[in-house]
């Protein structure tokens, strides 16, 4: 496969899953979480080949906030300036449940279809 097409597929996969994983990370934190911390966790836990430019997080979080899925607050920091941190809203939790359910069904469907294929065939 040409590498640019492979890159495009991986980029589309990253973009397609970014909403869900970012919302899940925010939801998984009891405390408000800073954009940098979200980006770090994305980078640390991303599977090989998938990469998220951390700069794309902020437009994403901004849109999520516009959609009412997350809320930003300023959290004072002992290490520097106050930080803009994010928490999930009730609407965000509702959307997350819908997404997670859709993702699991999609995953099962994908596995059924690609289950018999391995890298050597």
């Amino acid at each position: 496969m040409p590498s640019d097409l492979q890159d495009k597929i991986l980029k589309d996969l990253s973009n397609g899953t970014a909403w869900l994983v970012v919302l899940a990370i925010v939801a998984g934190n009891d405390e408000p979480i800073h954009g940098y911390e979200i980006g770090r966790r994305l980078a640390d836990e991303a599977p090989e080949g998938l990469s998220f430019k951390q700069g794309t997080l902020y437009p994403l979080l901004r849109t999520m906030e516009a959609e009412g899925l997350v809320r930003s607050t300023l959290v004072p920091s002992t290490e520097g300036p106050a930080r803009k941190c994010f928490t999930i809203t009730a609407e965000g939790r509702r959307v997350l449940v819908v997404w997670v359910d859709a993702w699991r069904r999609t995953g099962r469907w994908m596995n059924r279809i690609i289950g018999g294929i391995d890298g050597n065939r």
């Binding site: 980029k11 901004r62 520097g80 609407e91």
Partner: protein, 342 residues
Amino acid sequence: MATADPVAEYLSHLQRELIGVDAAIAHDALVDAEAHLRAAIAAGKSATAAIEAFGPAADFARAYAGAPAPDHHAATEVAGSTHPAASVAGGSGAPKGAHATLARIPLIGVWFHPRAWSSLFYFLAPCFAIALATFVWVVCLGSLVLGTLPILIGLPLAVFLLGSVRAIALAEGKVVEILLGVRMPHRVQPVQVLTPIGGVAEVGFWQRIGCWLTDVRSWLSLAWALGNFFVATVLFCMFVALGAVALVMVGVPLAQSAGLTTIQVDGDMREVQFLWERVTPDAEGRVRISALTSVLSIVLGMVVATATLWLALGTGWVYAQVVKAIQVARPQAVARRFAVIA
């Protein structure tokens, strides 16, 4: 030779990429980028690695400019992906769905535009209240400052006045953002300052005071606190008058048709004029307008109400632009100077 700060260079590049983008959005983008990069460096990453992980300035600028602000709903395309939230997430802002269709009807569509109603509400209540309270505060404290300056007590009071006016302007900006729908930027606070060798240092108390004094927005906010009182008063009177006229023109004929007595005059009065019609009161002083005048009054009242809503929408936009201009004055210069979030 001075050591180059890669973050400052990146922000400078980003600033160029943001040319032509709304000033408030550009400001937020610079603040977010800088806060992230400084956080990465503080966590032990090198500046180069942090910038590499953050991504090219051009991509960030393009994605940021395409993302809707937290008070708006427009684009659903982010970083090349169409997000599924649009179909399930609610929110406020510009009219959506059936409302959006109705709001596009020429002239009368404004009745279905939530922003027109929120703007009208803003000019009828919070705008005047905030302007009045701020004016009284500035005049009272300002007088005290001027009176006590000769004995030096006025100096700390002057700083307090300036700080309070900045805080009030920030709060007003938030109300404007919610009700008038124009995105306000996160205001930069002088929390840390770049050092000549590319590091950051805490801003001390006196430096912070100095920042307030040298920030043109402090003085603009002070001038606005004084001048806005007159603007807000005129707008308040104008919208109260227009609203009352529309209400009377529509309400009186409707109430009369429901059998209510809407206009009752003293028995000595022989004639009453309602719009163009001269009406003779009955023996008990009750005034009943003709059916033709009633219909025309309702039509005219609706025209006045529609015009009032358009005026509120337009005035709201202009007013918000003025408030925004005060809040985003010199954003780039400030963003370059401080490592901040606010």
